[in-house]
Each structure stands twice: as structure tokens, then as C-alpha cells.
Symmetry: C2
Subunit: 142 residues, 2 copies
């Protein structure tokens, strides 16, 4: 948490941006959140804590948090983007249940190795990837 704050402040400093009260409050709230929130989800939560913070600031701050490397945008094809912590959280992919919407985080070094191999075969230099497997989770199959 403290660490993450340092990362964010560092990013701001590097870019001549300011460490404001809103950014502080939003960063801490965001870091406390579990799971994957849309901008609006997060805005609703923010409202309950402090209704003087506007949507635009929430929007801009989430984008900034991503740029700082503390979060990333994920898109499950819902027509809106969700935000997910990245800090102290290894890269992973998702199983997405198309019935109940549950997300399961997965990680596979073997797959990553194959991805890199595949990229190399095409003279392609990979920087990141997205992988989602859609289907039915254990609960929904019962």
C-alpha cells in the first residue's frame, strides 16, 4: 500500500503531475477494492465516501493509475472496461463464466512460453498479451 503509493507519486513526479487530495483519496480507495470495477462502479463507491469528487476526476485518476503501472484495463466484451490491480500481482489471464459472470484468474508459464515461441517464429517481439477463456464455471455446470 505504502509501496504502491510511492510508485504512483513517483509516476506523478516524473510527469510533472501533482499529488492532490483527490488523487490520494482515489488511489487508496482503489487499492482497497477487490475485483474488477468499471469506472461507474468505482464512481458509485467514491460517491458514498465523498460526493464532492466528480466523475471526470474518477475517470482521469483511474487512467493515471493505469499509466503509473498500478492497474490495467481489462475488457470482457461487455461494452465497458474494468480496472484491475496490477501492483504486487503477477500477470494473469481469466476464465470468464458466461452464465454468472464469475472471473477466475489463471496463470500458465507453459502457455506464456508457447506464446513467446510462436511470436518468435513470426519475428514478432511480444510486449504483453490478453487471454480470456469463456465458458461455464463449476457452479453453473451443476
Amino acid at each position: 500500500m505504502r509501496e504502491a503509493e510511492k510508485v504512483f507519486i513517483g509516476y506523478l513526479a516524473e510527469h510533472n503531475l501533482r499529488w492532490t487530495n483527490q488523487r490520494k483519496e482515489l488511489l487508496h480507495l482503489f487499492l482497497k477494492m477487490e475485483k474488477h470495477l468499471t469506472i461507474d462502479d468505482f464512481y458509485q463507491i467514491v460517491q458514498r465516501k465523498n460526493d464532492r469528487i466528480g466523475y471526470a476526476t474518477v475517470y482521469r485518476t483511474l487512467k493515471l493509475i493505469c499509466k503509473s503501472g498500478l492497474a490495467r484495463e481489462v475488457d470482457f466484451g461487455e461494452g465497458k472496461v474494468r480496472f484491475e490491480h496490477k501492483y504486487a500481482h503477477e500477470h494473469h489471464d481469466h476464465l470468464v463464466c458466461t452464465q454468472c459472470g464469475k472471473l477466475i484468474e489463471i496463470k500458465s508459464p507453459e502457455i506464456e512460453r508457447l506464446q513467446n515461441k510462436l511470436a518468435e517464429e513470426h519475428c514478432f517481439e511480444p510486449t504483453w498479451h490478453k487471454m480470456q477463456i469463456f465458458g461455464n464455471c463449476g457452479e453453473c455446470r451443476k
Copy 2:
């Protein structure tokens, strides 16, 4: 081409939908297209051929073509969807060059096998997946 038309007409028939001039013209144009077009890309092309076909019809027909199994939607995180032929075209994933936008289609049975294994470990029944690897293509690395 003829084959694809049959598939489409078959789908229409099964659903009590009609084989109209617009649908015919749009299907044939779409099948001739290479690469991955957005709705608007395709609408622009249609306009040049026949400006009496409206955007809504283009939109609805692309959706129909997908439902018929001849195409699928792909999302490269641009905030809009692209359409890609599927007929006589095995499932594949993409390398996406973030410099020039080039797409390279890739396929890896090993990765798919690992995906299925991973899913199974989570009692998850996979139905489909999306995988995109972003980075720099051979040209752009030079």
C-alpha cells in the same frame, strides 16, 4: 463463396428470415473483403457501391452474418469491434503490432490443449477463447 451463400441462406431459412437484395449484396461484398473491418469501415465501402443501403442494414447484416457462423467479432481494444471471416477458416488468435496495426493470425494446438487443461483444473467448461499478443512486428523492429 457459393458455399458460404448456402450457409447464410440456410441460416435465414431456419429462422424465418428473408433473402433480400440488400442481404445478398452485403454478404457478397463482405466475403470479398480481406482483413478485419469495423462496421463503419464496411459501411464506407458499401456506400461506394450502393448508397441506398443504410447504416442500420449494414449493422444488422453483419450481426446476422456472425450469427450464421460465417464471421465473428474481434475486439482489439480499440473501442470498436471488427468483423472477420470465419467460414473455411479455422479458429485462430492474433499477434497485433502496436506500431503499424498489422495483424498476424496464429494457431497453436499446444496452447489450446493447455487452455483446456487449465480450465479443467478449475472445473471450468470452456466454450471459446480470445487471445491476442501485442508487440512489434518484424517490419517495425527494423
